[in-house]
């Protein structure tokens, strides 16, 4: 390779490497800001200020979903298996919403420590199964519940 070409190639590789490092540091510094939601443990540890509008992500705890019979009000508990946060929501839930499902709720904490959600989204995990496989796994007693979303533990 001719010297002037080698020099140019060196400059390009240097720019690429420098940029990677810069972006890496920026991403690390912005870690919490880029996260879409807080986990129940982060909420329990007081990482969210009072009156702050934020999103919380976790699993719908089995046996905690209580729907009103005369309205669209629903109460449930979101958990990351370390801490729990009770959530109240009024509105239409996504089809995927069920016990053991990952969800992301948006809203704020009220004075009683209940998260008043204005929006509830369902989170789908990375697992795909046909109904036959699901039935076979259930019959074998294996747990096929959705697992915690990545990056939350």
């Amino acid at each position: 390779m001719k010297p002037h070409r080698r020099k140019k190639l060196g400059i390009i590789l240097f720019i690429a490497a420098g940029l990677s490092v810069a972006v890496g540091f920026t991403a690390f510094a912005l870690k919490q800001n880029i996260n879409m939601f807080y986990t129940p443990t982060q909420v329990a540890e007081g990482e969210v200020g009072p009156g702050q509008h934020f999103r919380i992500g976790g699993m719908v705890k089995t046996g905690t979903v209580l729907g009103a019979t005369d309205s669209l009000k629903v109460n449930f508990v979101a958990t990351d298996f370390v801490s729990d946060v009770p959530i109240q929501y009024e509105g239409i839930l996504p089809d995927l919403f069920r016990e053991g499902q990952g969800i992301v709720a948006e809203g704020e904490m009220d004075a009683a420590g209940v998260f008043q959600a204005s929006r509830v989204l369902a989170k789908h995990d990375e697992n795909f199964m046909s109904p036959e496989v699901k039935a076979a796994l259930d019959a074998a007693g294996a747990s096929t519940e959705n697992h915690m979303p990545a990056g939350t533990n």
Partner: protein, 247 residues
């Protein structure tokens, strides 16, 4: 090795060689695309909670994965443009940007479609996977507009090459966004050869065929548009005029 490398920089040589490859590539593309689409959209088993909506992901995963190949390709082409000044590299880069923008758009559209049903929202500004993918689309549109904004084609080639090299870092962010940060978007599915566990062969073989089909589609489209670009830019060359007179 260097002889081969410099030969590749000759538009005439590439035009002749790619002409020989094309029938094979197109044949393979038609076969893989037909099998992939029919299997993925007609015979793929439903997911136990998503039902048939999961079939959208056969297309989404294949196009999204392939769309991440454009910036690395433009990185290599841009480096060759800046260091060795090969005209062919710039021609490939020009059309890679246009194709890449379409791939990114289809990724976003199919993802939104699936998200609107499964998540209950078609777009979330706070999800880093979604936003970094949108950023890729904007970057590619930026490369395309940069080229058309600069009249001097040599300056345009250099500017686009530099933007492509810088923009390549975004691919890493897209790829790892779901692991580095909390997102609504799921992480990549781990595949398994065990047919009785989640993500078994019944799902991923169809996806794999579709990925190969989309990569072949990308190669064929890129070669066809690069060949057009060669004829356009080399129209004054003797071999192009001979070619036109012959046909």
């Amino acid at each position: 090795m260097w002889v081969w490398f410099f030969k590749l920089g000759s538009p005439k040589w590439f035009y002749e060689l790619s002409g020989k490859w094309l029938p094979w590539l197109i044949g393979a593309m038609v076969i893989f695309m037909t099998v992939g689409v029919v299997w993925g959209l007609v015979f793929l088993p439903p997911d136990y909670q998503q039902g048939f909506t999961s079939r959208i992901l056969i297309v989404h995963v294949a196009v999204a994965g392939t769309s991440l190949a454009f910036f690395p390709l433009m990185f290599v082409a841009g480096t060759i443009t800046l260091v060795w000044r090969m005209k062919l590299a710039d021609m490939v880069a020009k059309h890679a940007a246009i194709l890449g923008a379409w791939f990114s758009f289809i990724t976003l559209a199919t993802g939104s479609l699936w998200g609107s049903v499964m998540w209950g929202t078609w777009w979330e500004w706070t999800d880093s996977r979604l936003v970094s993918m949108l950023f890729q689309l904007f970057l590619l549109l930026g490369v395309i507009s940069l080229r058309s904004a600069l009249e001097d084609s040599d300056a345009a080639a250099k500017a686009c090459a530099l933007l492509s090299i810088v923009g390549c870092i975004n691919v890493v962010i897209i790829k790892y966004s779901v692991e580095w940060w909390n997102t609504l978007h799921q992480v990549s599915s781990p595949v398994t050869t065990d047919a009785s566990s989640p993500n078994g062969p019944e799902f991923w073989i169809a996806t794999l065929i579709m990925i190969v089909a989309v990569y072949l589609f990308l190669s064929v489209s890129l070669i066809l548009s690069t060949r057009n670009e060669i004829l356009e830019r080399e129209r004054k060359a003797q071999w192009v005029q001979d070619l036109v007179l012959k046909s």
